[in-house]
C-alpha cells in the first residue's frame, strides 16, 4: 500500500523557482503520469518524493506519514532512471541481486533466488540471467534495471522517463510490458514524461505540470477531450489542436480568418455562458469533417499519408487547418474541399485568461 500526497511544495534552485505551491495526490496502486515540457519541474518533483531533494516549503506524505526528516532509503520507494546504470562486470542475476546483498538487507541467497525467479518471469528476462549487460539490447537493459528496482519489493516506483532512451519500436513494446507489469505488481507507479503519447497510453491518470504548477489532473480521455486550458489543449494531441479566432456578435460566432459564422445555438457547450467578445475555438484534427455539404471552403495544401490514417492540411483564407482523415480517402494538393465542424466536440477558450470557457 502506497499513496503519495504533495502539499504546496515550493522549491527554489538559487533564484529559479522550480515548483510553486505544487499540490498533487497519487492514489494507492495507480499509474500516475506527470506530464510536462522540459523545465516544468517534473524530475524535481520525483526527487522530492524520493528524498533526494528537500523542498523549501510544503509537505510530503507517503501512506499518510510525513516524510519530514525521513532518509531516502527509509521511504520504501524505488527510483528508475532514464539512463539505466547497470554494473558492467556483473551478470544480469548479480545486478538484480545486488540491492538484496547490500549491508541493509543481507538476504539469504535462497530467498534471493526465489525473488529473482518471480521478478524475472514477470519481466520475461529469465533467459538472460547469466549474460553481461553489454550483450543486451537497450530494452533488455532497461528491464534489468527495472528488475533491480523491483527486487526490493517497494510499494512505490518513481520513474523518470525510463523509456526515452529506447528506439521507437522498442518503446511501443515496453509500453505494453510496463502496463502489464504494473497490473501484476499492484504497486503505485509515479511516472514522469514529456511525451504526451506515452502519457495518454500508459496512465490511469495524467497530471499536467507547467512552470512548477499542476494545470490539470484527469483520465487520459478527459485531458484530451476536455482540456482545462490552452496549454493542455496544445500540449496533448498529435497533430496539434486547431485554434481559430472567433468574435462573438449578437448570437453568432464569427470565424474571422476563415470568413464564416455560426449561430451560437449550434454549440450546446456555450449555452447560458457569459462570453467575452473574443474567443478561441479549438478543434482536434478529427473534429473537422470533410463533406460536400460543409459550410467552409478550403484548398488542400498538403497530404501526409501515415498508413493508418492521413493528415491533410487545408488552407482557408489566412490559416491552415490540420485534419485527420481515413486512409481510404484520396485528395490531391490544390483541390478545393468543403468542411464542417463537429459542433458537439468543439472546445472554447478565453484568449486572455487562456482558460476553457466550458468550466
Amino acid at each position: 500500500m502506497a499513496d503519495v500526497r504533495l502539499e504546496n511544495i515550493v522549491k527554489y534552485f538559487g533564484r529559479l523557482c522550480a515548483l510553486r505551491e505544487m499540490s498533487l495526490q497519487v492514489r494507492d496502486g495507480e499509474f500516475l503520469i506527470l506530464l510536462g515540457p522540459t523545465g516544468a519541474g517534473k524530475t524535481t518533483t520525483l526527487r522530492i518524493v524520493s528524498g533526494l531533494e528537500i523542498p523549501d516549503r510544503g509537505e510530503i506524505y507517503i501512506n499518510k506519514q510525513s516524510m519530514k526528516g525521513v532518509q531516502p532509503r527509509d521511504r520504501n520507494c524505488a527510483f528508475v532512471f532514464q539512463t539505466y546504470v547497470l554494473y558492467p562486470h556483473m551478470s544480469v542475476y548479480d545486478n538484480i541481486a545486488f540491492p538484496l546483498r547490500s549491508k541493509v538487507w543481507k538476504m539469504d541467497e535462497n530467498d534471493i533466488a526465489q525473488r529473482i525467479d518471480r521478478i524475472t518471469s514477470i519481466l520475461k528476462i529469465t533467459h538472460l540471467l547469466k549474460r553481461k549487460p553489454a550483450t543486451l539490447s537497450g530494452g533488455e537493459q532497461q528491464r534489468v534495471a527495472l528488475g533491480r528496482a523491483m527486487v526490493r519489493e517497494p510499494q512505490l516506483f518513481l520513474m523518470d522517463e525510463p523509456l526515452s532512451n529506447l528506439d521507437a519500436k522498442l518503446r511501443e513494446g515496453m509500453r505494453v510490458e510496463l502496463k502489464s507489469i504494473h497490473k501484476k505488481l499492484g504497486a503505485t507507479f509515479f511516472f514522469v514524461t514529456h511525451d504526451h503519447v506515452e502519457a495518454m497510453t500508459l496512465g490511469d491518470r495524467i497530471a499536467v505540470l507547467n512552470q512548477g504548477s499542476i494545470i490539470q489532473v484527469g483520465a487520459p480521455e478527459e485531458i484530451y477531450s476536455y482540456p482545462s486550458s490552452l496549454f493542455v489543449a496544445k500540449f496533448v494531441g498529435n497533430p496539434e489542436i486547431n485554434l481559430i479566432k472567433c468574435e462573438v456578435d449578437n448570437n453568432s460566432l464569427q470565424l474571422k480568418n476563415i470568413g464564416v459564422s455560426f449561430p451560437i445555438t449550434l454549440f450546446p457547450q456555450l449555452k447560458n455562458k457569459n462570453l467575452p467578445q473574443q474567443i478561441l475555438l479549438g478543434l482536434r484534427p478529427e473534429e473537422i469533417i470533410l463533406t460536400p455539404r460543409g459550410s467552409m471552403k478550403g484548398e488542400i495544401y498538403l497530404v501526409e499519408d501515415l498508413g493508418v490514417d492521413k493528415i491533410i492540411r487545408v488552407k482557408m483564407n489566412g490559416m491552415v487547418l490540420r485534419i485527420r482523415i481515413a486512409c481510404e480517402e484520396y485528395f490531391h494538393v490544390g483541390e478545393t474541399v468543403m468542411l464542417d465542424v463537429d459542433t458537439t466536440k468543439a472546445k472554447f477558450f478565453d484568449p486572455i485568461t487562456e482558460k476553457s470557457l466550458e468550466r
Binding site: S225, L302, D305
Partner: protein, 361 residues
C-alpha cells in the same frame, strides 16, 4: 536519365560490412527516404553519395556522370546534417550567404539569391540575428537556407529533424514536404523514424543490416511489405503476426498450441509446397467482434483520445495490437475478426511475403 544512380555499392569498416550490394536509381525531383534502425548502413550510404566516405566497391553517378572518386565539394550536392552546424559568430544572413561568398559571386547576385531563399522560408525577420538567438526550428530553417542558396543538383539530409522536439518536428516535417512540392528538388533523406518516411517520401528505401529490404511507395511498404522485417518496422504499432500451420484438411489451419480456423481466403496457401506460414495483419484491420474467429484476452488499452489501441493475448502467448475507433472500451475475453482482404502472408522459413502472382497461380 536518373538524377542519381548508385551501382552495386559496398562499404566495409575493417571486418564489418556496413553496406552491401546497394542499387538505387533516383529520378529528377524525387523525394527518396532511406529508412532503417540505427546501424543499418543508411547514413554510410548517404555519406558515400555525398563524397564524405569512399566506397569499398561500386559506383555513384550524378546526372549520368561518374562521381565515385570526385571530391565532395565538386559533386554539386548539398548536405544538411542532424546538428545544424551554423557559424556562431555570423548573422543569419552571413551564414546563408557563406557558400556563395566562397563561390565568388558578385555582391548583388548573392543578395538576390539569399533574399529569394529567406523569403521562401519565411525567415526575413531573422537576418541580422546570431544563431544562439534563434529557436531550434529557425536554426534548422537557416541550415536549409544555406543548402538551398547554392541551388545544388541534389539535397542530402541526414535526420535533419531529430534534434527538434516532437511538436516542432511535426511542423517542420510538413514544411519540408511543402517546400519539396514547391521547389521539387531531388532529395535523399535519411531517418530511423518511419512516420517521417511515410509522410514525406515519394519512395521509401528500407534498409537493415546493410542491405536494402524493399524499395517502394509509402503505400506499398505499408500494405505490401516484402518481408517480416519491413512489416514490423513500418507502422506504429507494427504489423501483427500469427504463425499458421496447415493441417492438410481443406483450408483448416492451426495456430497457437491447439487452435484452428478455416477460411476461403486461405485456400491459396494450400497450393504452396510448404506447411508453415505467417499471417500478417495491421492493427486497424483486426476488429473486436462477437463473430470473430479467434479468442483472446485484452491485457492493456492505450487510449489516444480519438481511438483506442488494445493489446490482446491469443492462445500460446501471441500478442495482437488492435486499433478501435469506437468510444466504448472493451476488457477481458474478446473475439477478434480479421479483415482478410488486407492480410499478408509470409513463408515461415525465409520470412518473405507470398506475392499475388503466387496467390493466383
Amino acid at each position: 536519365m536518373e538524377k542519381v544512380k548508385v551501382d552495386n555499392l559496398y562499404k566495409s569498416f575493417g571486418e564489418v560490412e556496413a553496406v552491401k550490394h546497394i542499387n538505387l536509381s533516383i529520378e529528377e525531383g524525387q523525394f527518396v527516404v532511406i529508412l532503417g534502425p540505427s546501424g543499418c548502413g543508411k547514413t554510410t550510404t548517404l555519406r558515400m553519395i555525398a563524397g564524405l566516405e569512399q566506397p569499398t566497391a561500386g559506383d555513384i553517378f550524378v546526372e549520368g556522370k561518374k562521381v565515385t572518386h570526385l571530391h565532395a565539394s565538386k559533386r554539386d550536392i548539398a548536405f544538411v546534417f542532424q546538428s545544424f552546424a551554423l557559424y556562431p559568430h555570423m548573422t543569419v544572413y552571413q551564414n546563408i550567404s557563406f557558400p556563395l561568398e566562397a563561390q565568388r559571386l558578385s555582391r548583388p547576385e548573392i543578395k538576390e539569391r539569399v533574399m529569394n531563399v529567406v523569403e521562401f522560408l519565411g525567415i526575413e525577420p531573422l537576418l541580422s540575428l546570431k544563431p544562439k538567438q534563434l529557436s531550434s526550428g529557425d536554426m534548422q530553417k537557416v541550415a536549409l537556407g544555406r543548402a538551398m542558396v547554392r541551388r545544388p543538383k541534389v539535397f542530402l539530409m541526414d535526420e535533419p529533424l531529430s534534434g527538434l522536439d516532437a511538436k516542432l518536428r511535426e511542423e517542420m516535417r510538413a514544411e519540408l514536404k511543402r517546400l519539396h512540392i514547391e521547389i521539387n528538388a531531388t532529395t535523399i533523406y535519411v531517418t530511423h523514424d518511419q512516420i517521417e518516411a511515410m509522410s514525406m517520401a515519394d519512395t521509401i528505401v528500407v534498409m537493415n543490416d546493410g542491405v536494402i529490404q524493399q524499395i517502394g511507395s509509402p503505400q506499398q511498404v505499408y500494405m505490401e511489405p516484402e518481408n517480416i522485417f519491413v512489416a514490423n518496422f513500418i507502422g506504429s504499432p507494427g504489423m501483427n503476426f500469427l504463425p499458421l500451420v496447415y493441417t492438410g484438411k481443406n483450408t483448416l489451419f492451426r495456430y497457437g498450441p491447439d487452435q484452428e480456423f478455416s477460411h476461403p481466403q486461405l485456400s491459396f496457401l494450400t497450393q504452396i509446397d510448404q506447411k508453415e506460414f505467417i499471417l500478417g495483419i495491421r492493427p486497424e484491420y483486426v476488429q473486436i467482434s462477437p463473430s470473430g474467429l479467434m479468442n483472446g484476452e485484452i491485457i492493456s488499452v492505450e487510449p489516444l483520445g480519438y481511438k483506442n489501441v488494445y493489446a490482446v493475448e491469443l492462445p500460446g502467448g501471441i500478442r495482437f495490437m488492435v486499433e478501435d475507433m469506437r468510444t466504448e472500451k472493451y476488457s477481458g475475453q474478446v473475439k477478434l475478426q480479421i479483415n482478410w482482404k488486407k492480410a499478408c502472408f509470409f513463408t515461415k522459413n525465409d520470412e518473405l511475403r507470398i506475392k499475388w502472382s503466387q496467390k493466383n497461380g
